[in-house]
Subunit: 301 residues, 2 copies
Protein backbone atom coordinates (compact mmCIF):
# COMPACT_ATOMS: atom_id res chain seq x y z
CA UNK A 1 0.00 0.00 0.00
CA UNK A 2 2.71 2.51 0.97
CA UNK A 3 4.62 1.73 -2.21
CA UNK A 4 1.46 2.34 -4.24
CA UNK A 5 0.63 5.53 -2.39
CA UNK A 6 4.07 6.92 -3.07
CA UNK A 7 4.02 5.87 -6.72
CA UNK A 8 0.62 7.56 -7.04
CA UNK A 9 2.06 10.67 -5.36
CA UNK A 10 -0.72 10.62 -2.78
CA UNK A 11 -1.25 13.10 0.01
CA UNK A 12 -1.85 12.10 3.63
CA UNK A 13 0.75 9.36 4.10
CA UNK A 14 1.46 8.83 7.81
CA UNK A 15 4.71 7.25 9.01
CA UNK A 16 6.07 6.58 12.47
CA UNK A 17 9.78 6.84 13.16
CA UNK A 18 11.88 4.96 15.70
CA UNK A 19 15.54 4.45 16.49
CA UNK A 20 16.75 0.83 16.91
CA UNK A 21 17.89 -0.18 20.43
CA UNK A 22 21.44 0.78 21.27
CA UNK A 23 24.30 -1.46 20.28
CA UNK A 24 25.28 -4.00 22.96
CA UNK A 25 21.75 -4.40 24.33
CA UNK A 26 21.17 -8.00 25.45
CA UNK A 27 19.11 -10.20 23.17
CA UNK A 28 16.54 -10.65 25.92
CA UNK A 29 16.14 -6.90 26.34
CA UNK A 30 15.93 -6.34 22.57
CA UNK A 31 13.13 -8.90 22.44
CA UNK A 32 11.28 -7.01 25.19
CA UNK A 33 11.74 -3.64 23.50
CA UNK A 34 10.63 -4.88 20.11
CA UNK A 35 7.60 -6.67 21.59
CA UNK A 36 6.55 -3.41 23.23
CA UNK A 37 7.05 -1.48 19.99
CA UNK A 38 5.02 -4.00 18.03
CA UNK A 39 2.24 -3.87 20.62
CA UNK A 40 2.18 -0.07 20.55
CA UNK A 41 2.22 0.23 16.80
CA UNK A 42 0.14 -2.64 15.45
CA UNK A 43 -3.16 -1.13 16.59
CA UNK A 44 -2.31 2.13 14.87
CA UNK A 45 -3.16 3.21 11.41
CA UNK A 46 0.28 3.90 9.94
CA UNK A 47 1.45 3.50 6.36
CA UNK A 48 5.00 2.62 7.27
CA UNK A 49 7.63 2.45 9.99
CA UNK A 50 10.80 4.52 9.67
CA UNK A 51 13.97 3.07 11.20
CA UNK A 52 16.66 5.69 11.60
CA UNK A 53 20.35 5.24 11.03
CA UNK A 54 21.94 7.57 13.56
CA UNK A 55 25.25 9.20 12.76
CA UNK A 56 27.26 11.38 15.08
CA UNK A 57 26.76 14.87 13.68
CA UNK A 58 29.49 16.50 15.73
CA UNK A 59 31.29 17.67 12.58
CA UNK A 60 28.30 19.91 11.83
CA UNK A 61 28.64 22.26 14.80
CA UNK A 62 31.03 23.47 17.48
CA UNK A 63 28.27 23.41 20.08
CA UNK A 64 28.36 20.51 22.56
CA UNK A 65 25.83 17.75 21.89
CA UNK A 66 23.20 17.96 24.69
CA UNK A 67 22.67 14.16 24.65
CA UNK A 68 25.58 11.74 24.16
CA UNK A 69 25.85 10.00 20.80
CA UNK A 70 25.03 6.31 21.16
CA UNK A 71 25.62 3.73 18.46
CA UNK A 72 22.51 1.65 17.72
CA UNK A 73 21.81 -1.76 16.24
CA UNK A 74 21.66 -1.90 12.47
CA UNK A 75 18.20 -0.73 11.41
CA UNK A 76 17.75 -3.35 8.68
CA UNK A 77 18.87 -6.32 10.82
CA UNK A 78 16.73 -5.13 13.72
CA UNK A 79 13.75 -4.75 11.43
CA UNK A 80 14.18 -8.23 9.94
CA UNK A 81 15.06 -10.06 13.15
CA UNK A 82 12.59 -8.46 15.52
CA UNK A 83 9.91 -6.43 13.78
CA UNK A 84 8.71 -8.93 11.19
CA UNK A 85 5.38 -9.51 13.04
CA UNK A 86 4.53 -5.84 12.52
CA UNK A 87 2.89 -5.96 9.12
CA UNK A 88 3.79 -2.53 7.80
CA UNK A 89 6.47 -1.57 5.29
CA UNK A 90 9.79 -0.63 6.92
CA UNK A 91 11.62 2.43 5.64
CA UNK A 92 15.29 1.78 6.34
CA UNK A 93 17.44 4.89 6.65
CA UNK A 94 20.98 4.69 5.38
CA UNK A 95 23.54 7.28 6.43
CA UNK A 96 25.37 6.56 3.22
CA UNK A 97 28.84 7.69 4.30
CA UNK A 98 29.00 5.10 7.10
CA UNK A 99 29.13 2.16 4.68
CA UNK A 100 31.45 0.75 2.07
CA UNK A 101 30.05 0.31 -1.42
CA UNK A 102 29.93 -3.45 -0.77
CA UNK A 103 27.97 -3.06 2.47
CA UNK A 104 25.50 -0.64 0.90
CA UNK A 105 25.16 -2.85 -2.20
CA UNK A 106 24.46 -5.90 0.00
CA UNK A 107 21.71 -4.06 1.87
CA UNK A 108 20.15 -2.80 -1.36
CA UNK A 109 20.23 -6.29 -2.80
CA UNK A 110 18.67 -7.85 0.33
CA UNK A 111 15.92 -5.24 0.71
CA UNK A 112 12.42 -6.22 -0.42
CA UNK A 113 10.78 -4.03 -3.05
CA UNK A 114 7.36 -4.48 -1.46
CA UNK A 115 8.14 -4.60 2.27
CA UNK A 116 11.03 -2.14 2.34
CA UNK A 117 11.85 1.35 1.24
CA UNK A 118 15.03 3.23 1.93
CA UNK A 119 16.07 6.79 2.56
CA UNK A 120 19.62 7.89 1.82
CA UNK A 121 21.09 10.46 4.18
CA UNK A 122 24.16 12.44 3.17
CA UNK A 123 27.06 13.51 5.35
CA UNK A 124 26.25 15.87 8.22
CA UNK A 125 28.84 18.33 6.89
CA UNK A 126 31.43 18.68 4.18
CA UNK A 127 34.13 17.84 6.74
CA UNK A 128 32.78 14.38 7.50
CA UNK A 129 34.95 11.59 6.06
CA UNK A 130 32.82 9.28 3.92
CA UNK A 131 33.57 6.05 2.08
CA UNK A 132 30.91 6.54 -0.61
CA UNK A 133 29.36 9.80 -1.77
CA UNK A 134 25.70 10.40 -2.57
CA UNK A 135 26.13 10.41 -6.34
CA UNK A 136 27.79 6.99 -6.27
CA UNK A 137 25.19 5.73 -3.82
CA UNK A 138 22.36 6.72 -6.18
CA UNK A 139 24.13 5.03 -9.08
CA UNK A 140 24.73 1.90 -7.01
CA UNK A 141 21.08 1.77 -5.95
CA UNK A 142 19.83 2.12 -9.52
CA UNK A 143 22.18 -0.66 -10.60
CA UNK A 144 21.55 -3.12 -7.74
CA UNK A 145 17.85 -2.68 -7.01
CA UNK A 146 16.14 -0.35 -9.46
CA UNK A 147 12.65 -1.11 -8.13
CA UNK A 148 13.29 -0.40 -4.45
CA UNK A 149 11.60 2.88 -3.55
CA UNK A 150 14.08 5.52 -2.52
CA UNK A 151 13.49 8.63 -0.47
CA UNK A 152 15.55 11.68 0.33
CA UNK A 153 15.89 14.08 3.22
CA UNK A 154 14.75 17.67 2.95
CA UNK A 155 15.53 20.47 5.38
CA UNK A 156 13.32 23.57 5.30
CA UNK A 157 15.78 25.42 7.55
CA UNK A 158 18.36 25.15 4.77
CA UNK A 159 15.86 26.88 2.48
CA UNK A 160 15.77 29.83 4.88
CA UNK A 161 19.50 30.41 4.58
CA UNK A 162 20.20 29.25 1.01
CA UNK A 163 16.83 29.48 -0.78
CA UNK A 164 17.54 26.49 -3.04
CA UNK A 165 16.15 23.51 -1.14
CA UNK A 166 13.52 22.96 -3.84
CA UNK A 167 16.32 22.70 -6.44
CA UNK A 168 18.13 20.13 -4.28
CA UNK A 169 14.88 18.17 -4.04
CA UNK A 170 14.31 18.23 -7.81
CA UNK A 171 17.93 17.14 -8.35
CA UNK A 172 17.34 14.19 -6.01
CA UNK A 173 14.10 13.36 -7.84
CA UNK A 174 16.11 13.27 -11.06
CA UNK A 175 18.46 10.80 -9.38
CA UNK A 176 15.62 8.50 -8.36
CA UNK A 177 14.04 9.81 -5.16
CA UNK A 178 10.28 9.21 -5.03
CA UNK A 179 9.51 10.84 -1.69
CA UNK A 180 11.13 13.03 0.94
CA UNK A 181 11.16 13.10 4.71
CA UNK A 182 11.83 16.42 6.39
CA UNK A 183 13.78 17.26 9.47
CA UNK A 184 11.60 17.90 12.57
CA UNK A 185 9.19 20.79 11.96
CA UNK A 186 8.66 23.55 14.48
CA UNK A 187 8.95 26.47 12.07
CA UNK A 188 5.88 26.24 9.83
CA UNK A 189 6.84 29.37 7.94
CA UNK A 190 10.16 27.84 6.86
CA UNK A 191 8.32 24.75 5.61
CA UNK A 192 5.72 26.85 3.78
CA UNK A 193 8.51 28.84 2.14
CA UNK A 194 10.08 25.62 0.89
CA UNK A 195 6.74 24.09 -0.21
CA UNK A 196 5.81 27.24 -2.08
CA UNK A 197 9.03 27.31 -4.10
CA UNK A 198 8.76 23.54 -4.62
CA UNK A 199 5.22 24.02 -5.97
CA UNK A 200 5.89 26.93 -8.32
CA UNK A 201 9.12 25.44 -9.67
CA UNK A 202 7.37 22.15 -10.40
CA UNK A 203 4.51 24.00 -12.07
CA UNK A 204 6.75 26.18 -14.22
CA UNK A 205 8.97 23.28 -15.27
CA UNK A 206 6.16 20.77 -15.59
CA UNK A 207 7.67 18.32 -13.09
CA UNK A 208 5.19 16.25 -11.04
CA UNK A 209 5.54 16.74 -7.28
CA UNK A 210 6.39 13.74 -5.11
CA UNK A 211 5.17 13.42 -1.50
CA UNK A 212 6.96 15.46 1.17
CA UNK A 213 6.57 13.88 4.60
CA UNK A 214 7.03 16.35 7.42
CA UNK A 215 8.54 15.02 10.61
CA UNK A 216 6.71 15.90 13.80
CA UNK A 217 8.44 15.33 17.08
CA UNK A 218 7.10 16.02 20.58
CA UNK A 219 9.38 17.83 22.99
CA UNK A 220 9.28 16.80 26.64
CA UNK A 221 11.83 19.04 28.33
CA UNK A 222 14.06 22.06 27.97
CA UNK A 223 16.94 19.66 27.32
CA UNK A 224 15.10 18.00 24.43
CA UNK A 225 14.38 21.47 23.08
CA UNK A 226 18.09 22.31 23.22
CA UNK A 227 18.82 19.01 21.49
CA UNK A 228 16.37 19.79 18.69
CA UNK A 229 18.05 23.16 18.21
CA UNK A 230 21.45 21.40 18.21
CA UNK A 231 20.13 19.14 15.45
CA UNK A 232 19.40 22.26 13.41
CA UNK A 233 15.64 22.46 13.95
CA UNK A 234 14.57 26.09 13.97
CA UNK A 235 11.98 27.12 16.55
CA UNK A 236 10.38 30.57 16.33
CA UNK A 237 11.12 32.60 19.45
CA UNK A 238 7.44 32.95 20.37
CA UNK A 239 6.99 29.19 20.20
CA UNK A 240 10.11 28.55 22.27
CA UNK A 241 8.71 30.98 24.88
CA UNK A 242 5.34 29.20 24.82
CA UNK A 243 6.95 25.80 25.29
CA UNK A 244 9.30 26.91 28.08
CA UNK A 245 6.53 28.77 29.93
CA UNK A 246 3.85 26.12 29.57
CA UNK A 247 2.84 24.01 32.56
CA UNK A 248 3.23 20.86 30.50
CA UNK A 249 5.81 21.31 27.75
CA UNK A 250 5.20 17.82 26.35
CA UNK A 251 1.43 18.25 25.99
CA UNK A 252 1.94 21.75 24.58
CA UNK A 253 4.39 20.42 21.99
CA UNK A 254 1.86 17.78 20.91
CA UNK A 255 -0.79 20.49 20.41
CA UNK A 256 1.68 22.70 18.57
CA UNK A 257 2.83 19.86 16.31
CA UNK A 258 -0.76 18.97 15.45
CA UNK A 259 -1.57 22.60 14.64
CA UNK A 260 1.61 22.94 12.59
CA UNK A 261 0.73 19.87 10.54
CA UNK A 262 -2.85 21.06 10.01
CA UNK A 263 -1.56 24.43 8.82
CA UNK A 264 0.87 22.78 6.40
CA UNK A 265 -1.83 20.37 5.21
CA UNK A 266 -4.29 23.19 4.55
CA UNK A 267 -1.63 25.15 2.68
CA UNK A 268 -0.58 22.11 0.61
CA UNK A 269 -4.13 20.88 -0.08
CA UNK A 270 -5.13 24.24 -1.55
CA UNK A 271 -2.40 23.83 -4.16
CA UNK A 272 -2.53 20.08 -4.55
CA UNK A 273 0.99 19.51 -3.17
CA UNK A 274 1.15 15.94 -1.80
CA UNK A 275 2.30 16.05 1.81
CA UNK A 276 2.16 13.67 4.73
CA UNK A 277 3.89 13.24 8.03
CA UNK A 278 6.40 11.18 9.94
CA UNK A 279 5.92 11.16 13.69
CA UNK A 280 8.88 10.36 15.85
CA UNK A 281 10.20 10.68 19.32
CA UNK A 282 13.82 11.83 19.48
CA UNK A 283 13.90 11.07 23.20
CA UNK A 284 13.41 7.63 24.73
CA UNK A 285 11.50 8.46 27.92
CA UNK A 286 8.19 6.58 28.15
CA UNK A 287 6.05 9.73 28.45
CA UNK A 288 7.66 11.20 25.35
CA UNK A 289 7.10 8.03 23.35
CA UNK A 290 3.47 7.98 24.50
CA UNK A 291 3.07 11.61 23.50
CA UNK A 292 4.29 10.74 20.01
CA UNK A 293 1.66 7.99 19.84
CA UNK A 294 -1.01 10.49 20.93
CA UNK A 295 0.17 12.87 18.21
CA UNK A 296 -0.03 10.03 15.71
CA UNK A 297 -3.64 9.31 16.72
CA UNK A 298 -4.55 12.97 16.39
CA UNK A 299 -3.08 13.56 12.95
CA UNK A 300 -4.39 10.28 11.50
CA UNK A 301 -7.97 11.27 12.25
Amino acid sequence: MLVEKIKNKESGIVLYGITPPKAGTSEERIAEISALQIERLQALNIDGLVLYDIQDEKSRTEVKRPFPFIETLDAFSYSQDYLAPLMVPKIIYRAVGKYSAEQLGQFLSDASTTENLTVFVGAASKDQAVSINMKDAYALKNRVNQKLLLGGVTISERHQSKGDEHIRVFNKIAQGCDFFVSQGVYDVNASKNFLSDYYYYGLENNIPLVPILFTLTPCGSQKTLEFMKWLGISIPKWLENELLHSKDILQKSVEVSEQNYLELKRFADEKGIPIGCNIESVAIRKVEVEASIELLRRVSQ
Copy 2:
Protein backbone atom coordinates in the same frame (compact mmCIF):
# COMPACT_ATOMS: atom_id res chain seq x y z
CA MET B 1 -11.56 58.86 23.30
CA LEU B 2 -8.25 57.77 21.70
CA VAL B 3 -6.31 59.47 24.47
CA GLU B 4 -8.40 57.63 27.07
CA LYS B 5 -8.06 54.32 25.26
CA ILE B 6 -4.29 54.64 25.19
CA LYS B 7 -4.10 55.72 28.83
CA ASN B 8 -6.25 52.73 29.74
CA LYS B 9 -3.94 50.51 27.66
CA GLU B 10 -6.89 49.19 25.68
CA SER B 11 -6.80 46.61 22.94
CA GLY B 12 -8.48 47.06 19.56
CA ILE B 13 -7.53 50.65 18.71
CA VAL B 14 -7.87 51.26 14.95
CA LEU B 15 -5.97 54.05 13.21
CA TYR B 16 -5.77 55.09 9.59
CA GLY B 17 -2.55 56.49 8.18
CA ILE B 18 -2.05 58.99 5.36
CA THR B 19 0.77 61.04 3.91
CA PRO B 20 0.12 64.78 3.41
CA PRO B 21 -0.01 66.03 -0.22
CA LYS B 22 3.37 66.71 -1.79
CA ALA B 23 5.04 70.03 -1.27
CA GLY B 24 4.24 72.61 -3.96
CA THR B 25 0.71 71.33 -4.59
CA SER B 26 -1.62 74.23 -5.40
CA GLU B 27 -3.96 75.39 -2.67
CA GLU B 28 -6.93 74.54 -4.82
CA ARG B 29 -5.70 70.98 -5.34
CA ILE B 30 -4.90 70.55 -1.63
CA ALA B 31 -8.45 71.61 -0.84
CA GLU B 32 -9.77 68.97 -3.25
CA ILE B 33 -7.54 66.23 -1.86
CA SER B 34 -8.40 67.02 1.74
CA ALA B 35 -12.13 67.20 0.97
CA LEU B 36 -11.92 63.74 -0.56
CA GLN B 37 -9.99 62.38 2.41
CA ILE B 38 -12.50 63.81 4.84
CA GLU B 39 -15.38 62.35 2.86
CA ARG B 40 -13.73 58.93 2.76
CA LEU B 41 -12.83 58.85 6.41
CA GLN B 42 -15.64 60.53 8.27
CA ALA B 43 -18.08 57.69 7.73
CA LEU B 44 -15.56 55.24 9.10
CA ASN B 45 -15.13 54.07 12.62
CA ILE B 46 -11.53 55.04 13.34
CA ASP B 47 -9.97 56.08 16.62
CA GLY B 48 -7.44 58.41 15.07
CA LEU B 49 -5.75 59.60 11.90
CA VAL B 50 -2.01 59.18 11.50
CA LEU B 51 -0.17 61.82 9.44
CA TYR B 52 3.26 60.64 8.41
CA ASP B 53 6.39 62.71 8.25
CA ILE B 54 8.33 61.21 5.35
CA GLN B 55 12.11 61.28 5.43
CA ASP B 56 14.39 60.10 2.68
CA GLU B 57 15.80 56.85 4.00
CA LYS B 58 18.50 56.49 1.40
CA SER B 59 21.22 56.39 4.07
CA ARG B 60 19.76 53.08 5.29
CA THR B 61 20.50 51.00 2.21
CA GLU B 62 22.61 50.84 -0.94
CA VAL B 63 19.65 49.56 -2.96
CA LYS B 64 17.97 52.08 -5.25
CA ARG B 65 14.66 53.45 -3.99
CA PRO B 66 11.89 51.96 -6.23
CA PHE B 67 9.76 55.11 -5.92
CA PRO B 68 11.31 58.60 -5.88
CA PHE B 69 11.42 60.44 -2.58
CA ILE B 70 8.98 63.36 -2.60
CA GLU B 71 8.88 66.05 0.03
CA THR B 72 5.37 66.58 1.45
CA LEU B 73 3.54 69.38 3.19
CA ASP B 74 4.08 69.63 6.91
CA ALA B 75 1.77 67.11 8.59
CA PHE B 76 0.76 69.37 11.45
CA SER B 77 -0.01 72.40 9.28
CA TYR B 78 -1.93 70.25 6.80
CA SER B 79 -3.91 68.71 9.64
CA GLN B 80 -4.78 72.08 11.16
CA ASP B 81 -5.46 73.95 7.94
CA TYR B 82 -7.38 71.32 6.00
CA LEU B 83 -8.48 68.38 8.16
CA ALA B 84 -10.13 70.21 11.05
CA PRO B 85 -13.66 69.16 9.93
CA LEU B 86 -12.66 65.51 10.42
CA MET B 87 -13.49 65.06 14.09
CA VAL B 88 -10.92 62.45 15.04
CA PRO B 89 -7.64 62.92 16.91
CA LYS B 90 -4.65 63.47 14.62
CA ILE B 91 -1.43 61.60 15.37
CA ILE B 92 1.35 63.78 14.00
CA TYR B 93 4.56 61.96 13.14
CA ARG B 94 7.81 63.77 13.70
CA ALA B 95 11.00 62.54 12.04
CA VAL B 96 12.91 64.15 14.87
CA GLY B 97 16.24 64.65 13.10
CA LYS B 98 14.66 66.89 10.44
CA TYR B 99 13.94 69.69 12.92
CA SER B 100 15.86 72.11 15.07
CA ALA B 101 15.12 72.03 18.80
CA GLU B 102 13.22 75.33 18.34
CA GLN B 103 11.02 73.94 15.54
CA LEU B 104 10.25 70.77 17.44
CA GLY B 105 9.58 72.73 20.64
CA GLN B 106 7.19 75.03 18.78
CA PHE B 107 5.23 72.08 17.38
CA LEU B 108 5.05 70.42 20.81
CA SER B 109 3.86 73.63 22.37
CA ASP B 110 1.20 74.18 19.66
CA ALA B 111 -0.14 70.62 19.72
CA SER B 112 -3.40 69.99 21.54
CA THR B 113 -3.35 67.42 24.36
CA THR B 114 -6.85 66.22 23.48
CA GLU B 115 -6.94 66.51 19.68
CA ASN B 116 -3.33 65.59 18.94
CA LEU B 117 -0.85 62.88 19.69
CA THR B 118 2.63 62.60 18.31
CA VAL B 119 5.01 59.83 17.33
CA PHE B 120 8.75 60.45 17.31
CA VAL B 121 10.71 58.71 14.58
CA GLY B 122 14.47 58.35 14.88
CA ALA B 123 17.07 58.57 12.15
CA ALA B 124 16.85 55.96 9.39
CA SER B 125 20.46 54.97 10.08
CA LYS B 126 23.41 55.95 12.24
CA ASP B 127 24.89 57.77 9.25
CA GLN B 128 22.03 60.23 8.90
CA ALA B 129 22.97 63.76 10.01
CA VAL B 130 20.48 65.00 12.62
CA SER B 131 20.07 68.30 14.41
CA ILE B 132 18.48 66.82 17.55
CA ASN B 133 18.82 63.27 18.84
CA MET B 134 16.03 61.13 20.31
CA LYS B 135 17.15 61.50 23.91
CA ASP B 136 17.07 65.29 23.69
CA ALA B 137 13.74 65.16 21.84
CA TYR B 138 12.18 63.11 24.66
CA ALA B 139 13.54 65.55 27.25
CA LEU B 140 12.25 68.52 25.23
CA LYS B 141 8.81 66.97 24.91
CA ASN B 142 8.57 66.26 28.63
CA ARG B 143 9.57 69.84 29.39
CA VAL B 144 7.38 71.63 26.81
CA ASN B 145 4.20 69.55 26.79
CA GLN B 146 4.24 66.82 29.40
CA LYS B 147 0.59 65.89 28.82
CA LEU B 148 0.74 65.35 25.06
CA LEU B 149 0.56 61.63 24.37
CA LEU B 150 3.71 60.33 22.75
CA GLY B 151 4.17 57.18 20.71
CA GLY B 152 7.19 55.34 19.38
CA VAL B 153 7.98 53.21 16.38
CA THR B 154 8.64 49.49 16.69
CA ILE B 155 10.09 47.20 14.04
CA SER B 156 9.57 43.47 14.41
CA GLU B 157 12.08 42.79 11.65
CA ARG B 158 14.77 44.31 13.87
CA HIS B 159 13.80 41.77 16.51
CA GLN B 160 14.59 38.98 14.05
CA SER B 161 18.16 40.14 13.59
CA LYS B 162 18.95 41.66 16.99
CA GLY B 163 16.47 40.03 19.40
CA ASP B 164 16.19 43.12 21.61
CA GLU B 165 13.28 45.08 20.16
CA HIS B 166 11.26 44.53 23.35
CA ILE B 167 14.09 46.14 25.37
CA ARG B 168 14.11 49.13 23.01
CA VAL B 169 10.35 49.44 23.49
CA PHE B 170 10.62 49.31 27.29
CA ASN B 171 13.40 51.92 27.17
CA LYS B 172 11.11 54.18 25.14
CA ILE B 173 8.26 53.56 27.59
CA ALA B 174 10.60 54.70 30.36
CA GLN B 175 11.23 57.89 28.37
CA GLY B 176 7.53 58.62 28.03
CA CYS B 177 6.10 56.59 25.15
CA ASP B 178 2.53 55.45 25.77
CA PHE B 179 1.93 53.48 22.58
CA PHE B 180 3.81 52.12 19.59
CA VAL B 181 3.12 51.91 15.90
CA SER B 182 4.86 49.15 13.96
CA GLN B 183 6.33 49.11 10.51
CA GLY B 184 4.10 47.43 7.90
CA VAL B 185 3.40 43.80 8.83
CA TYR B 186 3.66 40.97 6.34
CA ASP B 187 5.69 38.59 8.51
CA VAL B 188 3.35 37.53 11.31
CA ASN B 189 5.96 35.27 12.83
CA ALA B 190 8.39 38.16 13.31
CA SER B 191 5.64 40.17 15.03
CA LYS B 192 4.68 37.22 17.25
CA ASN B 193 8.32 36.76 18.22
CA PHE B 194 8.50 40.40 19.27
CA LEU B 195 5.12 40.33 21.07
CA SER B 196 6.08 37.18 22.95
CA ASP B 197 9.32 38.65 24.30
CA TYR B 198 7.51 41.92 25.04
CA TYR B 199 4.90 40.00 27.02
CA TYR B 200 7.25 37.79 29.06
CA TYR B 201 9.67 40.62 29.82
CA GLY B 202 6.80 42.83 31.03
CA LEU B 203 5.46 39.97 33.13
CA GLU B 204 8.81 39.14 34.71
CA ASN B 205 9.66 42.77 35.43
CA ASN B 206 6.15 43.77 36.40
CA ILE B 207 5.90 46.52 33.77
CA PRO B 208 2.41 47.17 32.33
CA LEU B 209 2.19 46.71 28.57
CA VAL B 210 1.17 49.67 26.42
CA PRO B 211 -0.74 49.25 23.13
CA ILE B 212 1.20 48.09 20.08
CA LEU B 213 -0.52 49.16 16.87
CA PHE B 214 0.42 47.01 13.90
CA THR B 215 0.54 48.74 10.54
CA LEU B 216 -1.30 46.98 7.72
CA THR B 217 -0.69 48.10 4.21
CA PRO B 218 -2.24 46.73 1.01
CA CYS B 219 0.07 46.00 -1.88
CA GLY B 220 -1.18 46.70 -5.39
CA SER B 221 1.72 45.75 -7.63
CA GLN B 222 5.07 44.07 -7.86
CA LYS B 223 6.65 47.51 -7.67
CA THR B 224 4.87 48.32 -4.41
CA LEU B 225 6.06 44.95 -3.11
CA GLU B 226 9.64 45.87 -4.02
CA PHE B 227 9.15 49.21 -2.32
CA MET B 228 7.90 47.55 0.87
CA LYS B 229 10.96 45.31 0.87
CA TRP B 230 13.15 48.39 0.28
CA LEU B 231 11.54 49.96 3.34
CA GLY B 232 12.70 46.94 5.36
CA ILE B 233 9.38 45.08 5.53
CA SER B 234 10.06 41.34 5.57
CA ILE B 235 7.75 39.15 3.50
CA PRO B 236 7.91 35.36 3.86
CA LYS B 237 8.86 33.72 0.57
CA TRP B 238 5.60 31.72 0.38
CA LEU B 239 3.58 34.91 0.81
CA GLU B 240 5.60 36.76 -1.80
CA ASN B 241 4.96 33.84 -4.19
CA GLU B 242 1.23 33.96 -3.40
CA LEU B 243 1.05 37.69 -4.04
CA LEU B 244 3.05 37.61 -7.27
CA HIS B 245 1.09 34.62 -8.63
CA SER B 246 -2.36 35.82 -7.62
CA LYS B 247 -4.77 37.10 -10.23
CA ASP B 248 -5.43 40.19 -8.15
CA ILE B 249 -2.44 41.08 -5.99
CA LEU B 250 -4.25 44.00 -4.34
CA GLN B 251 -7.27 41.96 -3.27
CA LYS B 252 -5.00 39.11 -2.15
CA SER B 253 -2.94 41.52 -0.04
CA VAL B 254 -6.11 42.80 1.64
CA GLU B 255 -7.11 39.23 2.53
CA VAL B 256 -3.62 38.43 3.75
CA SER B 257 -3.44 41.60 5.85
CA GLU B 258 -6.80 40.84 7.45
CA GLN B 259 -5.73 37.26 8.23
CA ASN B 260 -2.40 38.47 9.61
CA TYR B 261 -4.12 40.91 11.92
CA LEU B 262 -6.63 38.30 13.09
CA GLU B 263 -3.77 35.91 13.85
CA LEU B 264 -1.90 38.57 15.82
CA LYS B 265 -5.08 39.59 17.64
CA ARG B 266 -5.85 36.00 18.62
CA PHE B 267 -2.29 35.53 19.85
CA ALA B 268 -2.32 38.80 21.81
CA ASP B 269 -5.82 38.37 23.24
CA GLU B 270 -4.92 34.99 24.73
CA LYS B 271 -2.19 36.68 26.77
CA GLY B 272 -3.90 40.01 27.35
CA ILE B 273 -1.36 42.02 25.32
CA PRO B 274 -3.08 45.22 24.11
CA ILE B 275 -2.74 45.47 20.35
CA GLY B 276 -4.50 47.39 17.63
CA CYS B 277 -3.81 48.37 14.07
CA ASN B 278 -2.92 51.23 11.80
CA ILE B 279 -4.10 50.87 8.23
CA GLU B 280 -2.28 52.80 5.57
CA SER B 281 -1.67 52.95 1.89
CA VAL B 282 1.97 53.51 0.96
CA ALA B 283 0.96 54.06 -2.64
CA ILE B 284 -1.29 56.85 -3.88
CA ARG B 285 -3.21 55.10 -6.68
CA LYS B 286 -6.98 55.29 -6.17
CA VAL B 287 -7.52 51.50 -6.19
CA GLU B 288 -4.84 51.05 -3.54
CA VAL B 289 -6.35 53.73 -1.34
CA GLU B 290 -9.77 52.12 -1.74
CA ALA B 291 -8.30 48.73 -0.85
CA SER B 292 -6.94 50.23 2.37
CA ILE B 293 -10.43 51.51 3.17
CA GLU B 294 -11.86 48.05 2.53
CA LEU B 295 -9.25 46.56 4.83
CA LEU B 296 -10.20 49.13 7.46
CA ARG B 297 -13.86 48.13 7.21
CA ARG B 298 -12.95 44.47 7.55
CA VAL B 299 -10.75 44.77 10.61
CA SER B 300 -13.05 47.19 12.44
CA GLN B 301 -15.88 44.68 12.36
